[in-house]
Amino acid sequence: MSEQFEPIIIGFLCNWCSYRAADLAGTSRLHYAPNMRPIRVMCSGRVDPQFVLKAFKEGADGVMIAGCHPGECHYVEGNIKTMRRFYLLRRLLKQWGIEEDRLQLVWASASEGTILAEAVDRMTEQVRALGPLDWRGTVLGGNGHVASVEIEKEMEEA
């Protein structure tokens, strides 16, 4: 039997809600998939689409952006801005052949450790089913474009 694929998911957690939800999940000893690697931002609104692309490029199989529920943002409406960017970005990723489930948006308040833990479990399963993200093959090479690993190399050398 082949070894189960363990996806790596980068989780952007906002300082006020979802980071604390993850803290609470831990404090409550809720067990969930160890595949999500959290990175703290003050607000989900700080998540520059470049960060998401960078994560995929560096080898993440999925990216989760987690913030406060709409209307509950510590910074009034940063999460609404996030939502706008999220849908645009997901559309863009889709055009590059990256499956929608690889980028997910989750709302979890500071008291919702269970919701965050469940979201991580769910996403881990979904991304596991999709398999590893082959950024170089999918984005740089797929979709009828010339396989460009070499081109990228040349560019780096140049």
Binding site: I10, V41, Q50, K54, A110
Partner: protein, 669 residues
């Protein structure tokens, strides 16, 4: 980037070491780029652990520090302090959360260790990009806003005012006093509630340092710790507070009465111009315009005609006043609502006359209440011969509220005692799930009731009905309950049933929490900063909570929280100036294209545009540091201090070090 990073991996006793191979993480970290020294320690937060950091900074010349331990919300301050003691700027420190986010979430040692390595690598790669920052000083306005004039708000207001600070106490109802003013006796000492509360209310009313704003609500909150701007709507009372002496003649002469659903819980009446209760503070009455004949039909004016003051105190033209307040801190003490017992129809409230709620019973046994303290049935004259008190109505119930409402056991015992005292021959039954008496003198009170002859039946009541099966049950309310201690179904034919409903968060607590920019939980109770070590602070600096708005609690606990919140505020006031996190955005004018995309993104209007130079600028004092503008700037001209692009990108690379290695491997093949 070349820096000398010190990495410290904490065992946290066995909390981390049980699932993460701490020694291996520390050893591995020592082999990473930029890492000068890497150690593991049993407890990094101990003074010995902190000393390790201080010594290494001094002796090995570390320029950056990473501690892999618990959540930064727990100990970031501790370790920043250690760095500062050794002469390092505290913002050159970074924390990797390998406890809450790792060791506590899995039993898989290999996976947890791998995740810990990634988190440490992310922190190391990030920290080399971190820049020294200086905290921003904020002056604390010494005035405080307290919302809610129940016993929590009163306790807090008096503490602060006695210490010489000015307090604005805002109360929605026409009088302060809250729920405690409605109660008769307080458990377990049986002090008269009004006797201990009203002197405090009077103190508040007369205190030179307290501006009392009753019949008022907070409409808008702006600003931040130290400098909040508050908009309060002071509703029109139609009574001029300057001229009114509170003599009460207008109330006496008002020819109309309505059922008082608020203070008397629907059990008694009040006049149209009224004060909720005789000892109300302030003493000025209010006109209930919805029921007032003058306001509805333009006739009557009895109150104005009989008002003895000159000039006349009744002012039908009075309008709501909008007040602007400037305060440094806010204490929310907004209290609770009671569970609506009609949601459990099988208990018969509103279907059967003689089913009462606990608050109705409180008003009934109160000497100044609608029955002058007589315990009677709904006909207001027949004394009951038997009473059942049903505990946990809506509490500890999967269908309604899962939590225990904390005070119902004790007041149900108190009710039993009062029935014994006033109706010596009456039989009293307490139907309970568990009796909970965790307070000073509480268990003793329970024992006293056992001796007084109260019947205790351990079991959840199935239903209250009026369908008699035997002659004995004719004309009675029959309480069907499983007595779990003798494993039998019992039917108790009684005259009166009292329901002890759950304590709920205020119906509008969600809106209130949004208005004040702090959080509330699933149930609507406000969330404290830390459930044990910071129970009256919230996630929002400068906003504190006290009393039942945080969760069900009794009077002593409420008063303690009120005083605790006041102490927290007083400490900020006496500091005068506090240091805020320097996490702020700033615009590099040379890179700004003047596109103005950021201008409208800022929820605090902190970004201004200079027409002359064609660039935008962040006003540091208004910026709260969310970083939304930073992410949006197409020219990358906005710098988000402590969360710069370089820092986040490097942390990403570190977090994905193993994936990256894998990709390189594949590419090489």
């Amino acid at each position: 980037m070349s820096e000398k990073v010190g990495v410290y991996v904490c065992h946290c006793g066995t909390n981390i070491a049980k699932t993460v191979d701490v020694e291996e993480v520390a050893r591995w970290a020592g082999t990473q780029e930029n890492v000068e020294v890497s150690r593991d320690d049993k407890f990094m937060c101990s003074s010995l652990g902190q000393e390790l950091i201080v010594e290494d900074i001094k002796e090995k010349g570390l320029t950056r520090v990473v501690v892999a331990s618990c959540s930064p919300h727990m100990h970031e301050k501790t370790f920043r302090g250690a760095c500062e003691r050794a002469g390092m700027n505290p913002y050159l420190f970074e924390m990797a959360n390998i406890r809450e986010h790792d060791s506590w979430t899995t039993d898989d040692r290999d996976a947890a260790t791998l995740k810990a390595m990634a988190l440490v690598k992310g922190a190391v790669d990030r920290v080399v990009w971190q820049q020294p920052l200086d905290p921003i000083p904020v002056e604390i306005n010494p005035n405080t806003l307290i919302v809610g004039g129940g016993i929590a708000g009163i306790a807090a207001a008096l503490e602060l005012a006695n210490a010489g600070n000015h307090v604005y106490l805002v109360e929605r109802e026409p009088s302060i006093g809250g729920h405690m003013a409605q109660l008769d006796k307080t458990f377990p000492t049986l002090d008269c509630s009004a006797c201990i509360l009203t002197p405090k209310m009077v103190d508040v009313g007369q205190h030179p340092n307290i501006t009392l704003l009753t019949y008022s609500e907070v409409e808008e909150v702006n600003g931040y710790l130290g400098q909040f701007n508050i908009t309060v709507r002071k509703k029109a009372r139609y009574v001029n507070e300057e001229h009114c002496t509170g003599c009460g003649i207008c109330i006496e002469k008002c020819p109309f009465t309505v059922v008082d659903e608020v203070f008397e819980a629907g059990l008694g009446n009040r006049k149209i111009i009224y004060r909720p209760f005789p000892q109300a503070v302030p003493k000025y009455p209010v006109i209930d315009t919805e029921n007032c004949v003058y306001f509805q039909r333009g006739k009557c004016k009895a109150c104005q005609i009989f008002c003895p003051t000159t000039p006349n105190s009744i002012d039908y033209e009075q309008e709501d006043e909008i007040l602007e307040l400037e305060v440094g801190n806010i204490i929310l003490a907004t209290g609770f609502d009671l569970f609506d017992t009609t949601q459990i129809p099988q208990y018969g409230y509103k279907r059967f006359d003689n089913v009462f709620t606990s608050l109705e019973f409180e008003r009934m046994v109160n000497a100044s209440g609608p029955t002058n303290g007589k315990i009677v049935l709904r006909d207001m004259e027949t004394e009951p011969e038997s009473v059942v008190i049903i505990h946990c109505v809506g509490s500890r119930d999967e269908n309604y509220h899962k939590y225990c409402s904390n005070v119902c056991c004790m007041y149900s015992l108190k009710f039993a005692h009062l029935v014994h005292e006033r109706l010596p021959g009456a039989e009293v039954y307490n139907c309970y799930i568990d009796i909970r008496t965790p307070g000073k003198g509480y268990e003793e009170f329970y024992n006293r009731l056992l001796e007084e002859g109260t019947h205790f039946i351990r079991g959840k009541v199935a239903e209250v009905s009026d369908v008699a099966r035997t002659e004995e049950e004719e004309g009675k309310l029959i309480v069907q309950v499983a007595d779990t201690l003798i494993s039998k179904q019992r039917r108790l034919p009684v005259d009166m049933v009292i329901l002890s409903p759950a304590i709920e968060a205020r119906h509008d607590s969600k809106e209130v929490s949004l208005r004040f920019g702090m959080g509330c939980d699933f149930e609507g109770f406000f969330v404290e900063r830390h459930p044990k070590l910071d129970p009256v602070a919230t996630m929002t600096e400068g906003i504190f909570i006290a009393g039942a708005c945080q969760g069900p609690k009794d009077v002593p606990a409420t008063v303690s929280q009120g005083a605790a919140a006041a102490a927290r505020v007083a400490s900020l006031i006496s500091q005068g100036t506090v240091m805020m996190e320097p996490i702020r955005a700033s615009i590099v004018a040379e890179s700004c294209s003047g596109c103005r995309i950021c201008n409208n993104l800022c929820p605090y209007n902190a970004i201004v545009f200079h027409d002359d130079t064609n660039v935008s600028e962040v006003i540091t004092a208004l910026c709260q540091g969310c970083g939304t503008c930073v992410a949006a700037c197409p020219s990358a001209a906005i710098n988000g201090a402590h969360f710069t692009n370089d820092q986040v990108m490097s942390q990403l690379e570190g977090l994905l070090w193993d994936a990256q290695a894998q990709l390189d491997l594949v590419a090489a093949e």
